[in-house]
Amino acid sequence: MKVKSAVKLGTVATFAAVILAACGSSSNSSSEASKQTLNWMEASALPSMDSATATDVVSGETLNNTGEGLLRFGKNSSVHPGVAKSYKVSKDGKTYTFNLRKSNWSNGDKVTAKDFVYAWQRTVNPKTASQYAYMYAPVKNANEIMTSKKPVSSLGVKAVGDYKVVVTLTQATDYFPSLAASPMFFPQNKTVVQKYGKKYATNAQNNVYNGPFKLTYWTGTSDNWTLSKNSKYWNAKNVKLKKINFKTMKDPQTSLSQYQSGKLDATYLSGQQPKNYKNDKQYVERKGASTFYIELNQRKDTMMKNKKARQALSLAINRKQFVDKVLADGSSQAKGLVSTGLMSYKGKDFNTASAVPEATSQDLTKAKKLWKEALKETGRSSYDLTLTADDTPAAKNTLEFVQSQWSKLDNIKVTNQSLPFKTRLSRSENGQFQAVVSGWGADYPDAISFLEMFTKTNSYNRGKWVNASYDKDIAAADGKDANNEAARWTDLVDAQKTLLKDQGVIPLYQQGRSQLVKSNVKGVIYFPTGANWDFSKAYIAK
């Protein structure tokens, strides 16, 4: 009957599609080594390529591979020569003199000292409205320029001839070399920026590059973008990769499948995926420089002002179980507010030097006892607590876990609230919370990046925890001891000790990212702060 023939036709059509599909999806993974192409997964799209205004990690990462500053980040956030061959610091630590090498932009123009002066001035110029311009704060007059009190030309950076940059700082700043290596401090080619005006850096063509790679495909809004080797790069002979394809995968399940089928050479793992791949050869954990902690609102609430209550809440949490069993993604227990591995002095890690074990470990009996005392001291019979966090999967896990831990205390009722990121931020800022899970990532490898947040007036101190001796230590580290490494170290260590002993915040975990990377991908450099990735030495082995 005719119906049947119609059905048959349908099947034939499907089969045809299947065969076509089989042809289409056949990929040749054997010639990967000769192609030297890396397929890299990103969780979100590339929103901006203007080094003056970019704010997010994906932009930072791409910029770090298409551009180069005076210095360049290497493994563990160590700093190496970049466009500058060498540099000298004056005795008072306030003047840096950089000697540039002869190098070129991807369009053949020379990279000169003027390109740095132009880029830096453009970034701090209030008209540019750069949201990360505050990173320039150590540079002389930067703060005044940002608030329109001084002209842009007064910025503490000068070009002496074509190949010498002299930077003047307001005061000695230990971590300035790290800043000089960040994308925010990259040079910009004035002619190109002015030629494209508003359209500058809005797609792959309207831009020039002085880094190991150049952006060859990006529409400005596309989910995929491609970097190709920049033959004009001064160190091009040591760049082995010919191409890097960045692909945005928003669903973790999808990106894992893409990895398994060979369409990606690396994928980030999330949710329960890391647990399952923990013992795999291709599994890699990347320690981040971000810590997550709980802030308690100490504006009015007598219970939250009570030190014993805060300690009880901290002691009730089994952080080991949380990072090993619940998150299980390469994150580790927080040893303090500052991330472990960020800063060390004479071979000693900052967190080892400033450890206060009872502020970051579990002791349920003690927690119960302290909680009982706190209730008594504040004249309560019970306490209702709302814990707020973001609505990301990790934040939801945190909420559920911490709730279950706190509920083990007597006479407490814990309610959870998860909010979209920006809503959570605006509520934290306005003090509309009891307890909130916050996270902070270091902008540069120095403990001050974390610790300055909890001084009395800092706007990141959302819980309004106040401690005079803490404020004094931070002021000293930023002021009188700024050029005295040993004294500054002691100041910072003391500050974190004070914060932990008083349980100003409850540190939870230090974020880690886990990845699967194909074993033939070699030489990828990861560093925990800022731009994270450098592909200039990466290659595909046979």
Binding site: Q253, S257, Q272, K275, Q321, L399, E400
Partner: protein, 341 residues
């Protein structure tokens, strides 16, 4: 008169019981049935609908009963027992015996976690919570959302429809235009916007779904009202001076009931569906509350190595959807006089 025929006295005699029986046996009649009874009778004949009704009743009892007695506390966290697969005592089939494939090898997850004595019928989730309890709990939340949203939707939709149809004329035209405008805004977009403003949570989801889904009901009710309005009994009621409100409640509503019931059967599953989609987008019920949608979404993420975490909630959701749809179809047939045998 001579015409008067004289009949003998015994011409009329009372009927005997036998005679009556003989007469009754020839009568062609069924016990009189009300409309509802009739529909009920026909629904029972529809096997699919009948099974669906029983299944739904069972699911309701289990889901709501679990509020009183649940196998485990759905929010009790046991991180050490995380991600244990289904284990049903006495069944040795892979997938139900507590084993799962890890790094290419099938291992006994219960032994590995040191939980040899435990049985989780549907396994546990990433925090070691009993999935069966979570699914029951999630079903309850999903059903509550759907039922409350549908109730709102009914109230708004039916009132709007009756009013529009009954008034007719310019009022009707205007009200229909309003509906047309609402229909030309994609409802998920509206729901998302509403939830963003009302802050994610059960109540905002209910409100958002109710506010967007009543139009369909309003249109159907209006069409039916227009038809009924012209019927003679309504005319009679009007002539007798009944108030419009009384007519609406005494005459219109009972006659609209079939349309309303049928449409409800399709609104409930679509509300459950909406909630599930919202969960995927990330603005569904917030933890530790769960709905079928959030469970599915959590499961979906780990489908490759923990497939049971998606299969179980998916199964329950499918059964609920199937049952409501089949029941809806069955009711439509049962209420439709044209399908009378």
């Amino acid at each position: 008169m001579a015409d008067t025929a004289k009949l003998p006295a015994d011409s009329f005699k009372p009927m005997s019981a036998d005679d009556r029986a003989a007469l009754d046996s020839e009568k062609i009649a069924a016990p009189s049935l009300t409309f509802m009874q009739d529909a009920w009778r026909r629904l029972k004949k529809n096997k699919g609908a009948w099974v669906s009704l029983i299944l739904l009743a069972l699911i309701f009892i289990l889901a709501f009963g679990s509020a009183i007695a649940s196998p485990h506390d759905p929010n009790q966290v046991h991180p050490e027992y995380a991600n244990l697969p289904s284990k049903i005592p006495g069944i040795g089939i892979n997938g139900f015996n507590g084993t799962l494939v890890q790094a290419g090898q099938r291992i006994d997850a219960y032994k590995q976690a040191g939980a040899t004595g435990a049985h989780y019928l549907m396994g546990t989730d990433y925090l070691g919570r009993d999935l069966l309890s979570r699914v029951l709990y999630g079903t309850r939340i999903s059903l509550i959302i759907a039922l409350v949203a549908t109730l709102f939707d009914l109230t708004i939709g039916v009132t709007y429809g009756i009013f529009s149809g009954w008034k007719g004329g310019r009022v009707d035209t205007f009200m229909q235009r309003v509906i047309e405008i609402i229909l030309s805004i994609p409802n998920l977009v509206v729901i998302v916007l509403l939830i963003l403003i009302l802050k994610p949570g059960m109540l905002s989801i209910i409100i958002a779904i109710a506010l967007t889904s009543w139009t369909n009901m309003a249109r159907l009710v209006r069409a039916q009202t227009l038809e009924i309005k012209e019927q003679e009994y309504i005319l009679a009621a009007r002539t007798l001076g009944e108030s419009s409100l009384k007519i609406a409640f005494k005459h219109l509503l009972p006659n609209l009931s079939s349309v309303i019931i049928i449409n409800t059967m399709f609104t409930i599953p679509s509300a459950i569906f909406f909630e599930a989609t919202l969960s995927y987008i990330g603005i569904g019920i917030s933890s530790p509350q769960a709905s079928l949608g959030t469970l599915l979404n959590d499961g979906q993420k780990n489908f490759q190595f923990l497939p049971y975490q998606m299969w179980w909630p998916a199964l329950v959701l499918c059964i609920i959807m199937l049952a409501f749809n089949l029941l809806g179809d069955g009711l439509r047939d049962a209420f439709d006089p044209r399908t009378k045998e």
